[in-house]
Amino acid sequence: MCLIARYLEARGIPTMVMGTALDIVKFGWPPRAVFMDFPLGHGGGPAFDPDQQLAIARQALVAFEGIQNPGEILPLAQTWPGGDAWKTATADQSAEDVRQPRDMTVRYQREEDRHLAEAAAGD
């Protein structure tokens, strides 16, 4: 994502990266980012918490006007519900990896999505 952010910014579009992996964001050095110490996959916030999701989006958008230094990563005052227990699970090397093979097979979330897409392609 950081490559895309830099590409867009260089062509005149201000960008904001919603960071949850601080080391990856630092490495990619985007023009503007916010950081939340959340598990990956939660740049919008925790599930089914519209109040916190809204607070996050509000703070991140306001940061478009707040961040003045290129490359700044602004930590948001947001805490993950349930504390830091998720970090132990993330660091567990024995956790099963559920990756599918890296190939050209299209992977639908639901089988019905495949039928819908094929029907749409047939129109």
Binding site: Y7, I13, V17, P30, Q53, A57, V62, Y108, Q109
Partner: protein, 160 residues
């Protein structure tokens, strides 16, 4: 302490015999474009790299899929789907799309007047593209063109 994702992911992939994901290290200071107008007048575009698609669209494949999907911003969230190489990060956003595709908060902030509006269409792609060349030569230019077509003033970027 934040999680050391790069070390953890490298170790895990190595143990499983996967090729390492090569994050691109930026060595030069980032480019900079100041806002051209107040945030409250800005049209906001969004890109999520969570592999989002709408039921009825073609999903993603997991080997360097550099395509993107154009998603109407008024799509009901229950019609949003996700397919991404690292499926272990998807369970929550498959239950509540706003975790990695936070369209509802953006629409609310437009209603409140915090931002001007949300682009008619927002975008997603499957972020796990191992080829830096394909990101720079295919994906990034396509996303740029798509944002220009939506006439966005700023881009809200949500990595998986």
């Amino acid at each position: 302490m934040p999680v050391e994702y790069m070390r953890t992911i490298r170790e895990k992939y190595s143990k499983l015999g996967y090729a390492p994901y090569g994050w691109h290290e930026a060595t030069e200071a980032p480019p900079w474009t100041p806002l051209a107008k107040p945030l409250s007048d800005c049209r906001v575009g969004m890109l999520s790299t969570a592999g989002t698609y709408v039921a009825g669209q073609v999903a993603y494949f997991y080997k360097d899929d550099a395509s993107h999907r154009v998603i109407p911003s008024d799509t009901p969230v229950e019609n949003l789907r996700f397919s991404h190489l690292t499926e272990n990060y998807l369970p929550d956003t498959r239950r509540d799309a706003n975790c990695a595709f936070p369209i509802e908060p953006l629409l609310t902030l437009a209603t409140e007047g915090v931002i001007g509006d949300v682009a008619d269409n927002v975008f997603s792609c499957m972020g796990a593209v191992y080829s830096k060349r394909r990101v720079e030569e295919e994906l990034a230019p396509a996303i740029h063109k798509a944002f220009v077509a939506e006439d966005v003033d700023v881009a809200y970027l949500v990595p998986l």
